[in-house]
């Protein structure tokens, strides 16, 4: 049975319950002392540190400024991944020839970690914005491409056939049929990709380190300040969740439109 929709209040209640569970788990683990406080600070410690970081600079910047410079790099790399990944995925699904050229290379290269490219990124771009953007791009690109490609490939043939029968060429077939049909899968890909792009940030910030949440976390780790590291994680978590929430909203709007 299609899972029944829940009322808004019920939904909020359950979500709150889930969040409370997470906090409880953390508190119990921290209080139990199984892990020394240096390594698992209490929620309170972390929140205090988080607040402190917003007005007291650490590693040269306040938390929000670190976040801002990270976001800038992320936006660049992610936008590039989307701009290349979606069209390429659709083209690969529509034209066999492109698929045959791109797929083998891509299938191999995507297994190389974005941070493994750090040395090359540093060699090619030095301190320029290109290095971090390349790293984030490498992280964010594969899920966009794969989900677009597979989503497009698994589009019910009858739609593709209908569009061909109605005289639509490659352009309209791709943009008006394949793309909307694959959209649910593409959005799933975007969600994963945003997550991975955001994660590659730490790697990206290994190249030019004077700002960014990744930099802040590395510094916090070296300074044995787990609260700082966790503040960074929370900041990343919040921003990442916000991006994800945006994408999920898109996903739901689409589901509703199609009566799913």
């Amino acid at each position: 049975m299609v899972p029944a929709r829940l009322s808004a209040t019920r939904l909020r209640m359950l979500s709150a319950l889930g969040a409370a569970g997470l906090v409880l788990f953390w508190s119990v683990a921290a209080a139990s002392g199984i892990v020394p406080r240096t390594f698992l600070p209490t929620l309170r410690d972390v929140l205090l540190r988080l607040i402190e970081l917003t007005h007291q600079p650490f590693a040269g910047n306040t938390l929000q400024n670190h976040l801002l410079s990270s976001l800038g790099r992320f936006a660049f790399g992610f936008a590039l991944a989307v701009a290349v990944g979606i069209p390429l995925g659709l083209l690969m699904a529509w034209f066999r020839a492109i698929d045959r050229i791109v797929a083998p290379v891509f299938e191999a290269v995507r297994f190389v970690a974005p941070i493994a490219w750090v040395p090359f990124a540093a060699l090619w771009f030095g301190t320029g914005i290109g290095g971090p953007v390349l790293i984030i791009f490498l992280g964010a690109f594969p899920p966009v491409l794969i989900n677009t490609y597979r989503g497009a490939q698994f589009v019910d043939r009858k739609y593709i056939e209908a569009s061909r029968m109605l005289g639509a060429g490659a352009w309209r077939g791709i943009t008006q049929v394949m793309f909307p049909a694959a959209l649910p899968s593409i959005v799933s890909g975007l969600r994963i990709s945003a997550g991975l792009g955001w994660q590659s940030l730490v790697g990206a910030e290994l190249i030019v380190a004077s700002s960014g949440v990744g930099y802040l976390m590395v510094k916090g780790q070296a300074g044995l300040s787990t609260a700082t590291v966790m503040s960074g994680m929370i900041a990343i978590g919040i921003v990442g969740s916000a991006i994800d929430a945006l994408l999920r909203r898109m996903q739901r709007a689409m589901e509703a439109r199609r009566g799913l």
């Binding site: 994963i192 990442g240 929430a245 009566g259």
Partner: protein
């Protein structure tokens, strides 16, 4: 019903033929790539070897790691360690991730309960877990396994989840009418219906496992392909980094081929 028609004439090839087909295609792509690489570096000197290693330099590095070793082990030892680690982390996280994704997809209550934690923990880089992994699990394989697990978990969950949500409503209704519940509902309706999407997720999880390996092997690796990359980066030994990259890429590619084979077996109703 119309999706069948496209490939109908050829019929599903045998696994071996498919493998050989994609292998030969890949080989020709690799050949072309090798040539372009050679032409750009050794051939014309367009790209200086400061920026990118040439094939000859890479060959030398390859010989070095093959016979003398690099990063405290020889090539095959690195490969074996990494493949074992990735397989373990991937298998554990994929099975749990798919299960959670399916559960979230099938019940809005579970979705609402799990979402806060999931959404929040998800964007945290695997790298960021390393200090905690060290503290919790020490320097052994379990710490590395944990980092790989965390990374591979997410794509499995998301794709399984959306796979369930994409199943045609009439099919779910039909199974409700036929009173199919519990384990049978999962095995015969939800899982097969979500399978294409689940496999998309598994592919991404496999990739995440490999890409996280480099990070994971910061947790004190005795051997492993991530170790080649880390050490190569510390030594600015670009040719060796490339050897590491090619090794990782080949391993990942081969594992994907295997996954593709499983996928075709698992979905006999699809015209491939």
């Amino acid at each position: 019903m119309h999706q069948r028609r496209i490939a109908a004439g050829s019929g599903p090839g045998s696994g071996v033929a498919l493998f050989l087909g994609s292998a030969s295609r890949a080989l020709s792509a690799i050949g072309a790539l090798l040539f372009v690489w050679w032409a750009a570096t050794d051939g014309t000197g367009l790209v200086s070897s400061v920026r990118f290693p040439s094939p000859s330099e890479t060959w030398v590095a390859w010989q070095q790691i093959l016979w003398e070793g690099y990063g405290s082990a020889r090539w095959h030892e690195h490969v074996i360690r990494s493949v074992a680690l990735v397989t373990l982390g991937f298998a554990a996280s994929a099975s749990l991730g798919v299960a959670l994704g399916l559960a979230m997809g099938s019940s809005r209550t579970i979705e609402a309960l799990v979402n806060p934690a999931f959404l929040f923990l998800r964007p945290i880089p695997p790298l960021a877990w390393i200090p905690l992994a060290i503290v919790w699990l020490g320097l052994g394989d379990s710490a590395k396994g944990m980092v790989i697990f965390v990374a591979a978990f997410v794509p499995s969950v998301i794709n399984s989840f959306s796979g369930v949500r994409q199943i045609d409503a009439p099919l779910l209704e039909a199974s409700a009418m036929l009173d199919v519940r519990g384990w049978r509902y999962w095995r015969e309706v939800l899982i097969p219906g979500a399978l294409p999407s689940i496999f998309t997720g598994l592919r991404l999880s496999l990739q995440a496992s490999w890409t996280t390996l480099v990070a994971a092997e910061l947790v004190g690796a005795v051997a492993g392909l991530g170790q080649i990359l880390n050490q190569g980066a510390q030594d600015i030994y670009t040719a060796m980094i490339l050897v590491g990259m090619i090794s990782v890429a080949s391993c990942g590619w081969l594992m994907t081929l295997a996954l593709g084979w499983v996928e075709r077996r698992a979905m006999p109703w699809r015209a491939h």
